[in-house]
């Protein structure tokens, strides 16, 4: 009896082994080992859809490569990314806000760019022929470049033309100064015209956007949040105080901005603008056009230059960028840079399909780009705008600025008092 049981089990095991071997031998996947790259980026509906198509194209052209794609909500991406890299894991390639570049480089979290993947024999010199110098320098430490620019954008001024018309405002009333904003804002909110709760939505619960906005306003007032080399804070300077006081006045003195209406941790200013809660919005560049057409197709808007202080300069919006980085912990660096080079070669397609400009000169100057809705307004703003200087303790400093803004806008403190506190916090961080 025992002998026959062993014989049965033995025969079964042998048959199983033979079947398994034949399946494995016949599998196409076994013919060549697959390289898997993980690519993380931030959530942006139209861009995420487009990149999935690009990935499918890349995988067809490179059958031994598999790309795992993960868009992550912006609010959690910085923390998720840094902790996963620190833990030895994380993606092989990630698209990340350029403001963090100095911080990532100083903490040795990212690898230098493999220029051979991009066909750039002369490294940074060749890169500078394709992109704005300010952008490339923002991703560099000295002569070493750690990130490839993957999106350059700006903040322009959006107005809802239907709501303006309903309030009896014409094109001549479109605001050019903050005084104009206050005047038209009150008209937009006045009850007889059907009264908006909020004339102007400002960034909130988003330290990055708040910093970009305050920097823009400070430049309009003739100053800057930081010195040109990014090593000294200037948060209590007269221009920054004037900028933040205006922000606070728009909310508290004139009631044009209602922080209680949002944005919250789960939506953005363009959502309140698109939904008609507010008639004016000062965030977002060309990529917002696609977001509006996809999510809020009925809205009619116009893109204007940022309002200025009376007698002040037109300093444009604060430019910002995203870059493609390869973490120092990646085990697929070469494959990751090769994929990054593929993405970068699709600049015009990115712009046409999503409104995202990768920062390359070729796309900026092309006829197709010039035909983009409101492009002349964006281009004028790009020409006048500037990037924030590179800042090493970026995460901590934008939180300092965020708290300073909240003290004024939400707690109704004076800008000079709030910024004095912020300056002392920043000095401790930047010593």
């Amino acid at each position: 009896m025992k002998k026959s049981i062993y014989q049965t089990w033995g025969a079964t095991a042998a048959a199983f082994a033979m079947v398994s071997a034949s399946i494995i031998a016949g599998s196409p996947a076994s013919a060549a080992a697959k390289t898997t790259i993980t690519y993380w980026t931030h959530v942006n509906g139209p861009t995420n859809v487009f990149e999935k198509d690009l990935i499918a194209q890349y995988q067809r052209a490179n059958p031994t490569v598999k790309v795992n794609y993960l868009p992550v909500e912006w609010g959690v991406l910085p923390t998720k990314l840094k902790t996963s890299i620190a833990g030895g894991g994380g993606p092989d390639l990630f698209n990340f806000f350029g403001g963090y570049a100095s911080e990532l480089i100083s903490k040795k979290m990212v690898s230098p760019v493999d220029f051979s993947a991009f066909g750039l024999k002369n490294g940074k010199k060749d890169l500078l022929k394709n992109y704005l110098p300010a952008v490339v320098n923002g991703f560099s430490a000295g002569t070493t470049v750690y990130g490839i620019p993957h999106e350059v954008s700006n903040h322009v001024y959006w107005i809802n033309t239907d709501q303006f018309a309903a309030a009896g405002l014409s094109a001549a009333d479109y605001p050019k100064t903050y005084d104009d904003v206050i005047r038209v804002g009150k008209i937009l909110q006045a009850k007889p015209s059907g009264g908006l709760k909020e004339a102007l939505v400002m960034p909130q619960y988003n330290a990055i956007r708040e910093t970009l906005t305050l920097q823009m306003m400070a430049r309009q007032a003739g100053g800057s949040l930081f010195s040109a080399d990014g090593k000294k804070p200037q948060l209590d300077s007269a221009s920054v105080v004037r900028a933040l006081q205006m922000w606070g006045d728009l909310a508290n003195t004139h009631g044009l901005n209602q922080p209680a209406l949002g944005p919250t941790a789960s939506n953005y200013p363009e959502d309140l603008f698109g939904a008609g809660t507010a008639a004016m919005n000062n965030t977002g560049g060309p990529w917002v056009v696609k977001v509006m057409s996809d999510t809020y197709p009925t809205i009619k808007y116009k893109v204007l230059q940022q309002p200025t202080f009376k007698g002040g300069i037109q300093a444009g919006g604060t430019l910002y960028g995203f870059g493609l980085f390869v973490p120092s912990t990646s085990k697929q660096k070469a494959a990751a840079w090769k994929f990054a080079a593929f993405l970068q070669s699709k600049g015009q397609d990115y712009f046409d399909k999503t409104g995202v400009w990768l920062g390359d000169n070729q796309t900026f100057k092309s006829a197709a780009t010039k035909a983009y809705p409101s492009w002349s307004a964006f281009a004028t703003n790009f020409a006048a705008g500037e990037f924030l200087p590179p800042i090493v303790k970026y995460s901590e400093l934008i939180d300092v600025i965020d708290r300073a803004i909240q003290r004024v806008v939400l707690e109704k403190k004076s800008a000079s008092e709030s910024l004095a506190v912020a300056q002392s916090e920043a000095l401790l961080l930047m010593r």
Partner: protein
């Protein structure tokens, strides 16, 4: 009983009794046989792995500079010096302290009152179910619900015809958070209190009634003294919940406006994972642990007197 048997002497006197000249024998001193040690060994191992080792690790890291990449570099007490000099740390201490008082004490009191009322009422199962309902919601869902209620044009302002900036005003943000946490936890506290109330010996109340004691006299002289251990437990749980509160302030207010709702737990998370400064984050964590131990010790001291009837 065998005279001089260490096991028996331990059991009767509660003290170790080691003969002179004899080496200390842990088994004999403690009164535990080898089988006793075998039974508690898994628990001690779990305690060591999941509590003692991480605790030692955090204490060590609090004395180092480390940004998660590379190795920690010993830096002595510099992290403690920096956090104690940071106004944001003291703001978080104040917020956490306020939360502890405003969550634990009202939570325990309201739970106690509700437990007495439910015990004397009818349809107690239905009431208990309704009270436990908030516990069914995941924290994130509860935050989204309350976020909608707290919005400027949200349910609370619209229904009551008021215009309060619940989470965008530093005066209201912390009370709003406390309100949300009481809603979340009250059911749990009440069920525990109810179990305690139901366990009270009925004969004491009968005897008190025979002696002419009124309703409030019975509560004052019987219910409250006998419920002291339960109240202590509720206070400790409430305080512990407040000291470790993270998800709700993180999602609802982000710690703002300003720092008005930024708890120590949030500050630890922010310092460790947003600023990748593990040394400082560990120093804050160790400080929080010491504070929690002090508070627990005080609570035990206040409530440790024998029950008197």
């Amino acid at each position: 009983m065998i005279e001089g048997d260490p096991k028996i002497m331990w059991a009767t006197s509660g003290k170790a009794n080691v003969s002179k000249g004899q080496g200390a024998n842990i088994q004999k001193i403690s009164g535990l046989g080898s089988s006793g040690w075998i039974f508690i060994f898994p628990v001690i191992t779990m305690l060591a792995i999941f509590f003692l080792v991480p605790l030692a690790g955090v204490i060590y890291l609090s004395l180092t500079e480390w940004s998660l990449i590379g190795s920690p570099v010993f830096s002595g007490f510099s992290n403690y010096q920096e956090i104690f000099a940071n106004p944001q740390f003291w703001s978080a201490v104040r917020v956490t302290g306020k939360l502890s008082l405003e969550m634990a004490i009202p939570g325990a009191l309201i739970a106690f009152i509700l437990a007495i009322m439910i015990n004397e009422g009818k349809k107690t199962n239905y009431v208990s179910t309704v009270l436990l309902f908030p516990l069914v919601f995941p924290s994130i869902v509860a935050v989204f619900i309350w976020e909608a209620m707290f919005k400027g044009d949200g349910i609370l302002n619209s229904f009551f015809g008021i215009n309060i900036n619940w989470v965008t005003s530093s005066s209201w943000a912390l009370p709003s958070l406390v309100l949300m946490m009481l809603w979340t936890n009250l059911g749990y506290y009440t069920i525990i209190a109810l179990a305690g109330v139901r366990d009270l010996p009925a004969e004491l109340f009968d005897a008190a009634s025979l002696d002419g004691a009124g309703y409030f006299a019975k509560i004052r002289w019987i219910t409250i003294p006998l419920m002291k251990p339960i109240l202590l437990f509720l206070l400790m749980v409430g305080t512990s919940d407040a000291l470790t509160l993270f998800i709700q302030p993180y999602l609802l207010t982000g710690g703002g406006p300003g720092d008005s709702t930024r708890t120590l737990s949030q500050l630890i998370y922010q310092t460790a994972f947003m600023y990748t400064d593990i040394g400082k984050a560990s120093a804050i964590a160790v400080t929080l642990l010491l504070a929690a131990l002090v508070v627990a010790g005080l609570q035990f001291r206040v409530f440790s007197k024998d029950r008197e009837i």
